[in-house]
Symmetry: C2
Subunit: 338 residues, 2 copies
DNA sequence: CACGTCGATGTAATCGATTCCAAGCCCTCA
DNA sequence: TGAGGGCTTGGAATCGATTACATCGACGTG
């Protein structure tokens, strides 16, 4: 592969001039510029980004460490992150942590070794050592979706409190009184926050959230299935199950179906994180939707601000309730039927 | 960030010795090794991968350019690719082409600029210029899923012919006679191959595949919806629609539902590419499943073989039919009901 | 006419590693 | 005792870029 030296030789100038042309530095004569460009064309020369990065100490690359690529929510997040990054002239390297702290650490380490300019993280747990180190060590960093308290790192997230309140109102209006939740890992902020929001919203109606109705999941479908089976085995099963993410909702749907029961007739179901597929499930699932694309774009902007020396800002978007049929007929339909 | 020089100074040795310890070169005294390791520990030193790459001319990074990250099939492919690559000591950078040749070219270009060691591609179209150039220029390269004929590049793919034949047999057994297909872009191999396999399988039953029943899609949900509406508007609509990918099947489902019709009662539906969600749709969708994980792993192995100087091999896996309920009751159930 | 200025260019240092080559040291064997 | 050989080790070149600094003409001005 041709190097800058080859181009310089071909054009009959020094490497400095070639470099100047390539970085359109002002003081280059038209003649030299023309000859360099012709040489570049003739040799099919492309600058070596590795060498450039070594010299300039910047890679124009962002690292994105997410908890689970197979989760459509994160896939969409990754996609919007890549788009915005590309628009700003950055590439992104995605690391999939699969909800495993050790993998998260592995990715943070290799990304740092590659000297990425900044790191976008949706932490799997309370924070793996390498990540905390990086955060404290001054690596430009931004948290998306989930975060770790006590660190001076901007957070871009969606607040689901209002939407959860809307959801509970919706469910209450439908006549449901026994509510259960499939929680995410307590170590993640989204894991604990969603339970709290749910509990608080229930409290407004004087409804409890008993321990027996609080199942511990891990954001994966299988755990949703397992927890739901536990609920169904109870002497008095809940009337509603609220899954703290989309995959666990899917598991819950499986569990209900496996018993020959039906949603929402035998058990109502709602989920946090809306995804295109929820429209097509049987029944379509009522969910709380985050503005995922906005989240990804805002996160990249914050990170790039930080990298380029501008003060980055934390941003919180609002999530909203999307009512479908998995919790029962909507009140309106209900009323018209009565 | 500490460099190898700092470590050398701290350990009281030369940078050459530090490098030797780090790459466990045999001729280093135990004493020196110990001092270097201690210095590394004390300074929290991590080698600069950028500098190393410049010197060794290898990045231990693979590029993966796929057509659409949001498609669960490709997400799963990407995941298995990353896993296998990690196991072999490589990282992977994913480029999402969004079925756009220009974006595909953009990613190929930046990946090449970064001097990745090899490229895994599922080409969007007949081949964008940069990609062809790279293929011919000797960049280690492997095609996954889709490929471009006439290039000396190994191909890792799944053959759906037998499965399509099984599908047609299944449909024929169910009594269907009017078959339609939503094809993918003709420029992609999977786009044209699947139509051909379908047509050939139908021919075995003396059944035609009229032009009116051959819709042109682009592997995206929206096109599936549009084409299906066209089918439904026909004086004599088909009895079965076979979508050449999962997203278009989803669009078809939408179209049918939007008219207040039902699958499979009013129109049977089958898809190429199985995904977890098809179990949960209403009704569950009959699909042809590829061994996606195998594909991804085999592709990485082939690419790494090529990179490390071993002869790479093309591999073809078999896809298989997964019968669910979107084409009607299965013959067995049928018989028992009769 | 001499001097300062400015634009265009080249030389060389530098980034952080790897690795070839030479040198130093110790040991063994003739 | 001296030559040769095996370990260790350090010096320095190198990878492909960027960029500070020096140089060299040409030009304008007093």
């Amino acid at each position: 592969m041709a190097s800058i030296k080859d181009v310089a030789a071909e054009a009959g100038v020094s490497v400095a001039t070639v470099s100047r042309v390539l970085n359109d530095h002002p003081s280059v004569s038209d003649d030299a510029r023309k000859r360099v460009l012709a040489a570049v064309e003739a040799l099919g020369y492309r600058p070596n980004a590795v060498a450039r990065s070594l010299r300039t100490d910047q890679t124009r690359t962002l690292g994105l460490v997410i908890s689970d690529v197979m989760n459509p929510y994160f896939t969409e997040l990754a996609r919007s992150v890549e788009e915005e990054a590309r628009a700003l002239g950055y590439s992104v390297i995605i690391g999939n942590a699969d909800e495993r702290p050790d993998l998260q650490d592995h990715h943070v380490t290799t990304l740092l070794d590659r000297r990425i300019d900044g790191l976008l993280v949706s932490p799997t747990d309370g924070g793996s050592p390498r990540m905390l180190e990086a955060a404290r060590g001054g690596t430009p960093m931004v948290f998306v979706d989930r975060w770790i308290p006590g660190l001076d790192v901007p957070v871009i997230r969606a607040d689901g409190q209002a939407a959860v309140r809307d959801l509970v109102a919706h469910l209450h209006g439908l006549g449901h009184r026994r509510f259960a939740i499939i929680a995410g890992p307590a170590a993640t902020t989204t894991g604990s926050e969603r339970v709290e929001a749910f509990r608080a919203a229930l409290a407004e109606y004087g409804l409890p959230l008993p321990d027996a109705y609080t199942g511990q999941g891990d954001f994966q479908a299988e755990s949703g299935r397992r927890v739901t089976e536990g609920f169904l085995d109870l002497p008095e099963p809940p009337e509603v199950v609220f899954a703290a993410d989309n995959l666990m909702a899917l598991g819950a749907l499986d569990a209900v179906r496996a018993r020959g029961l039906r949603v929402p007739h035998d058990l109502a179901l709602a989920a946090f994180d809306d995804i295109p597929w929820f429209v097509h499930t049987d029944p379509p699932v009522t969910a709380i939707a985050q503005p995922t694309g906005e989240l990804g774009r805002a996160a990249v902007r914050a990170l790039v601000d930080r990298i380029e020396g501008r003060p980055p800002q934390s941003v919180t978007f609002a999530a909203r309730l999307v009512v479908r049929r998995s919790c029962g007929e909507s009140p309106v339909t209900n009323r018209s039927q009565t």
